[in-house]
């Protein structure tokens, strides 16, 4: 890679993670093959400082596992994660805690992501105290600042999570993440559990915070419209791999990978005059326990040919920019339009 003007903030290479499935005693005796959920199968991506990278995919694609591996909530099996040049997977002790300050994760479920027995004040003060971010007399001020950042009223401080709505709880979660002054925020389905009219509020807040605090954001979601709206670049995941990533406008205008095309075709459009009667893609989502050989999408792909069944395509740079992992898209003859 040529020397870019700005080195990437986050660099992931060939990350892999499998969750073994416990075998019964009978299966062990019979020496049946060990099975595992192959959540991540060689994920590579880069994120530049200050940008928003959207990560989309459906169930089983591994996007949540990826988010959790990046903050080391889950330990990956193989691959490297470099944050600002440092290998994150090797960190321990105080260095690891320092890393926790720089990269934070916001969770999907507003109902379980806050400790029900701690008030907002206690939740925020704990973060400040553990990381010794402020001397104790300045903590109340800092807490007030954090509340203001997320547009929560002062009287929220001494209330418990169950007294707030879902949208407000997500704001508290954001405030908690911001209390350690991170550089990078990973949002794992930030608004999926919220009502539509509330989603916009929280998204607007995220955009504002990103501008104000110069944050880098990884936005993991299944809602394509949302991802399109806030991301600079988008990566599409399928069965533990990135199948395509590109600048947002290019990806949505000219998706190259058949799965991306299917995903965009399947997402219900808001224009009732544009309807199609055929489904965008056939077949079921295969289980991450039994990943098809070759290209994992080939059983459902309308364009699959011989090599797709046997050889796994790697991410390759396409003409005009962007990366795609597809034999067809990278074929020397122009692919058929879909």
């Amino acid at each position: 890679m040529s020397c870019p003007p700005e080195a990437p903030l986050l660099e992931v290479r060939n990350l892999a993670k499998a969750f073994p499935i416990r075998r019964t005693a009978l299966q062990t005796l019979r020496c049946t093959r060990r099975r595992a959920i192959h959540a991540l199968n060689g994920v590579s991506l880069t994120v530049r400082r200050g940008e928003t990278l959207g990560i989309v995919g459906e169930s089983g694609c591994g996007k949540s596992t990826l988010a959790r591996c990046l903050v080391r909530l889950i330990e990956a099996d193989a691959g490297t994660i470099r944050y600002d040049g440092v290998d994150v997977r090797q960190l321990a002790g105080p260095e690891r805690r320092a890393f926790n300050r720089r990269v934070q994760l916001i969770f999907q479920d507003p109902y379980s992501s806050l400790n029900p027995r701690m008030t907002v004040r206690q939740t925020l003060a704990e973060a400040l105290a553990v990381h010794r971010l402020r001397p104790s007399r300045e903590i109340p001020n800092r807490i007030a600042e954090l509340l203001a950042l997320v547009y929560l009223p002062r009287d929220a401080l001494d209330r418990y999570p169950h007294e707030f709505s879902g949208g407000q709880r997500q704001r508290i979660g954001i405030a908690r993440a911001l209390s350690v002054e991170p550089e990078c925020l990973i949002a794992d389905e930030l608004v999926s559990a919220l009502d539509v009219s509330v989603q916009a509020q929280v998204i607007n807040l995220l955009l504002e915070l990103q501008d104000r605090l110069h944050l880098t954001v990884l936005f993991v979601a299944h809602d394509l419209r949302l991802v399109r709206h806030i991301s600079h670049r988008v990566a599409v995941m399928y069965l533990g791999r990135i199948v395509e990533h590109d600048r947002t406008d290019r990806l949505f205008r000219e998706p190259r990978h058949p799965y991306t095309q299917a995903l965009l075709g399947a997402a219900p459009e808001l224009d009732p005059t544009r309807r199609s009667r055929t489904a965008a893609v056939r077949g079921e989502l295969p289980s991450p326990v039994e990943i098809p050989a070759g290209c994992p999408f080939h059983p459902r792909c309308p364009h699959a040919f011989e090599v797709c069944r046997s050889q796994r395509p790697e991410l390759d740079r396409r003409r005009g920019g962007g990366w795609v992992a597809c034999h067809l898209a990278m074929a020397p003859t122009p692919p058929t339009t879909l």
């Binding site: 959790r68 903050v71 909530l73 690891r96 805690r97 926790n100 300050r101 934070q104 994760l105 969770f107 999907q108 479920d109 109902y111 379980s112 992501s113 806050l114 400790n115 029900p116 027995r117 701690m118 704990e126 973060a127 553990v130 990381h131 418990y160 169950h162 979660g173 908690r176 350690v180």
Partner: protein
């Protein structure tokens, strides 16, 4: 709000009316503690004093609970029994709950081979009826309250540990626990500050029930002569004192029995009240 929420709010109205049990239980136990602390103030007679002039008297104004075959006033003996039996309730549960919670929290949080070993220990202990185990240990160590505390301690912690382990495992799955890890908090802080307060409610409720059960256990052992030793005024011993007089002087055994029932009821009501009070709200 969804229909399910509406239906549960209708039930909530019922629940508020049921606060009465907590208050009743608290009153009963409060009274018990007062009697346990200051038995001399309330007991009209010396519990150990014989009175040959008043043997086997039925309940009367002079002796509201009657007297036994040595002329000892039953009311005074029952009141003095509060001291011993409340002690039994406390000392019979304090080690199990502390040690049990320690082990339960650790194996619940860390899992791994200690959890497997713990599982087998639990299996071994619950195979035997609790009373039989305790009696066996006391038989080896010799009768007396201290030995009873040891026996209960050695066996009883397992139940608390099992309960807390299950709750800790559930709380560990919640996102707020993961959030704590991502925030860089150490394991000790996560277990003590985050998981434990959310996991402890069933343990506290069980503790209340357990206190009632331990009193029963102590009384059973007292009755068998393996716990408190006569002439101590312990309710089980009192019941044993009257066992030969059940048809002629029922009051010797019945009143201590009622005291056990009442105290047990008090603890149960508090347990229910705690469960209601600390029920997590959404």
């Amino acid at each position: 709000m969804r229909a399910a929420a509406l239906e549960s709010r209708a039930v909530g109205r019922l629940r508020r009316q049921v606060r009465a049990p907590l208050i009743t239980g608290a009153l009963i136990i409060g009274l018990s503690l007062v009697l346990a602390a200051l038995p001399g103030w309330f007991a009209p007679y010396d519990p150990l004093a014989f009175d040959y002039a008043a043997l086997l008297q039925p309940p009367s104004l002079a002796h509201p609970f009657g007297t036994d075959n040595f002329g000892r006033d039953i009311l005074s003996r029952v009141i003095w029994g509060y001291r011993l039996d409340m002690q039994i309730a406390f000392f019979g549960t304090v080690f199990p709950i502390l040690f049990g919670c320690l082990i339960g929290a650790l194996v619940g949080y860390y899992g791994g081979w200690p959890d497997v070993v713990f599982g087998r220990v639990v299996d071994a202990v619950i195979t035997f009826p609790f009373l039989v185990l305790v009696i066996a240990i006391v038989a080896v160590l010799g009768p007396g309250l201290i030995n009873m505390y040891i026996a209960v301690g050695v066996v009883g912690w397992v139940f608390y540990a099992r309960l807390l382990r299950a709750e800790i495992r559930i709380q560990k799955q919640q996102d707020y626990a993961s959030a704590g890890k991502v925030m860089g908090y150490g394991d000790a802080r996560i277990i003590l500050r985050h998981l434990l307060p959310n996991a402890i409610t069933p343990v506290l409720v069980f503790w209340m029930t357990d206190m009632a059960l331990v009193i029963l256990l102590g009384s059973s052992l007292g009755y068998l002569g393996l716990g408190a030793q006569p002439p101590a005024a312990e309710w089980g011993v009192l019941i044993a004192d009257g066992k030969n007089f059940m048809s002629t002087a029922w009051w010797i055994s019945i009143f201590p029995g009622l005291a056990i029932v009442l105290t047990g009821l008090g603890f149960s009501l508090i347990g229910d009240g705690i469960a209601d009070l600390l029920r997590p709200q959404r």
